[in-house]
């Protein structure tokens, strides 16, 4: 996979993406503080690939996903999609581009307009991009509902008549309506029960296979990611601290934070003794991130030193395709610029 992405330009190329939220206060809401929600994030997503963006609350993963789509205006950085500079697009071109880039939301209750029928919600994209009208649009809506595993006659019903899992399928159908190449899946299964979660995970995989979709799969549940992703990027306090192919990340996590994160996941095997790395305290506030390596105050690496506290570690390729932002992780291969980022 990496061999392919090095030869072909990636579908999505994000470089140094930054989103700072000013905290405003007072009568005329003058900015008093800045929250560094996303602080210099770079990655690529190839055609048909799933890149998982993993992190705990406050890591900036959702903001990153929305900034890429310009649902939130990024503060700085570059976003290229299919060779086009997303940040340079005017409003009309951006609307046109949204045919190709879609999003599925976490909250199956908040993401559907309660006053629109399911059919109307799905049809909106078709009409806006003039993909189909009238009977043809009806036909497309029915086909989409069928594709996500819902009955075609549901088109005339309202969202409140559906369960969480069904609503999530409706949200997926709405995203698919405009035939995108890329979908930001923002925690699409976190609000669902286990049995329904598995259905939606499988549906997303099937759709990817059938339609050649690329996903940016934002999640906090590492187990779901282990089933969905081709590559995984771990975020902590607005930065990517590790990025690696799925198998490598789960088998040999290198960054101490990733190791702690993986070890914290409860495993459904009673009696299995596991080495657990317990992190002390809470993640610091993104309004006031630590100097140097953002993880250093909670890091338990034996060689942790002044360098960690003062110098921001770059995300470097410590092993083939395995990128780590840590001063103390030795490079297993000679460091080189990845051609996808060069």
């Amino acid at each position: 996979m990496t061999a392919q992405t090095t030869s072909v330009a990636p579908l999505l190329d994000v470089r140094n993406l930054t989103k700072h939220f000013p905290v405003r206060a007072g009568w005329f809401r003058a900015p008093t503080q800045v929250i560094r929600a996303v602080d210099g994030v770079s990655f690529t997503v190839a055609d048909g690939e799933t890149l998982a963006l993993v992190g705990e609350s406050g890591s900036g993963k959702t903001t990153a996903g929305r900034a890429i789509l310009r649902l939130i205006e990024p503060t700085s950085g570059q976003v290229h999609f299919g060779g086009r500079d997303v940040r340079a697009l005017n409003a009309a071109s951006l609307r046109a581009l949204r045919r190709e880039m879609q999003i599925v939301f976490q909250d199956p209750y908040g993401s559907l307009n309660p006053r629109l029928t399911v059919g109307a919600a799905i049809r909106e994209g078709l009409l806006v991009h003039q993909l189909a009208e009238g009977a043809a649009a009806e036909q497309r809506v029915r086909a989409l509902l069928d594709e996500v595993g819902l009955r075609a006659e549901y088109a005339t019903r309202y969202p409140h008549e559906f369960s969480g899992g069904q609503r999530q399928r409706i949200g997926i159908a709405r995203a698919l309506a405009v035939e995108p190449r890329f979908i930001v899946c923002d925690e699409p299964v976190s609000a669902l029960d286990v049995s329904v979660q598995a259905q939606v995970v499988n549906l997303l995989r099937d759709l990817q296979r059938d339609r050649g979709l690329a996903y940016l799969f934002i999640a906090h549940d590492l187990a779901v990611v282990a089933h969905m992703a081709d590559r995984v990027a771990v975020m902590y306090l607005g930065r990517i601290v590790e990025l690696a192919p799925r198998a490598a990340l789960f088998a040999t996590p290198r960054m101490p934070y990733t190791q702690a994160l993986l070890s914290a996941v409860p495993v459904p095997e009673p009696g299995r003794v596991r080495r657990r790395i317990l992190l002390a305290g809470d993640p610091p506030s993104p309004a006031n991130p630590p100097s140097g390596c953002v993880f250093h105050p909670r890091c338990s690496h034996p060689d942790r030193d002044a360098m960690c506290a003062n110098v921001i570690p770059a995300l470097e390729e410590k092993a083939p395709a395995h990128w780590v932002a840590c001063h103390k992780v030795p490079a297993a291969a000679p460091p080189s610029l990845p051609s996808t980022l060069a």
Partner: protein
């Protein structure tokens, strides 16, 4: 009482008022300003001929009240419609644009709210001398939109962050269409409720102004001007106070009851867990 009946009863009552007002030219026994043919210019208590009595100029109070309802209700409805339009536009714009524009809009509103409405109205009518009806509507409308603006703005701000609005934007829907299709329909309940309560408030306010001689001007009849004609110590002309007063109280109560019932019926349904 069921939710539906709680809405239906005041709605029917309001409809009665509207029908009586609209039908005034046919229902009223006499033209509102007709001085009796026998030339008897005198305020008389209720009789069979004049069920609500006559006023100091000998005019039939029932007829004046029916025609007065036209004036009172239309002033209230029109000025509230104007206030809703202005308030919704202002509030929706501030909430949708957000940021500094919103902050500035809200601070301006704070300033406007700090000036008592009655004071503005008294001042304006004093400056104007006699107010024509359309100016009265304009004044009431332009001083009555602050609450609407605040409520609409807070609704819109909440809606702006909703995922389904983001989803529409991510689909490539134009901002104007998002506002119209995904935001405005959710503001309707707020608007209908505040407008209904606003009508009640404005009916009372107009009556008050007219009673003081600053609202509707003679010879035009409104409930407030009829009340004014009944001013005499000791309630000597009680029919000039009781009948228009009762109409006023009933109309205000009806609108308030309707507003409350609508607010309840729009409240999110309780769903069993």
């Amino acid at each position: 009482m069921s939710a539906r009946r709680r809405t239906l009863v005041p709605l029917l009552a309001l409809a009665c008022f509207v029908v009586l007002a609209l039908g005034a030219p046919w229902l009223a026994p006499a033209p509102p300003n007709a001085i009796p043919a026998d030339g008897l210019i005198q305020s008389l208590p209720p009789t069979v001929e004049h069920p609500f009595g006559t006023d100091p100029l000998g005019r039939d109070v029932l007829s004046r009240m029916l025609h007065g309802a036209r004036v009172s209700l239309s002033v209230a409805f029109l000025s509230v419609a104007l206030a809703s339009l202005v308030g919704t536009t202002y509030g929706a714009a501030a909430g949708w644009i957000g940021g500094r524009v919103d902050a500035l809009c809200m601070r301006l509103l704070d300033v406007a709210l700090a000036v008592p409405r009655l004071l503005v109205l008294l001042l304006m009518s004093a400056l104007w001398g006699t107010l024509p009806l359309h100016t009265l509507v304009l004044l009431l409308g332009l001083t009555g939109w602050y609450d609407v603006a605040r409520l609409v703005r807070s609704d819109v701000r909440g809606l702006r962050e909703r995922d389904f609005v983001l989803a529409a934007r991510a689909t490539g829907v134009r901002e104007a269409r998002i506002l119209w299709r995904h935001v405005v329909p959710h503001v309707w309940p707020t608007l209908v409720v505040t407008a209904t309560l606003g009508v009640a408030n404005t009916i009372a306010l107009e009556a008050g102004l007219s009673f003081l001689g600053l609202g509707v001007q003679p010879p035009d009849a409104s409930w407030g001007t009829i009340l004014r004609d009944g001013q005499l110590p000791g309630g000597a002309r009680w029919w000039l106070t009781v009948f228009p007063g009762a109409a006023l109280v009933l109309a205000v109560l009806t609108c308030n009851a309707l507003g409350d019932a609508l607010r309840e019926s729009f409240a999110p349904r309780q769903v069993a867990a």
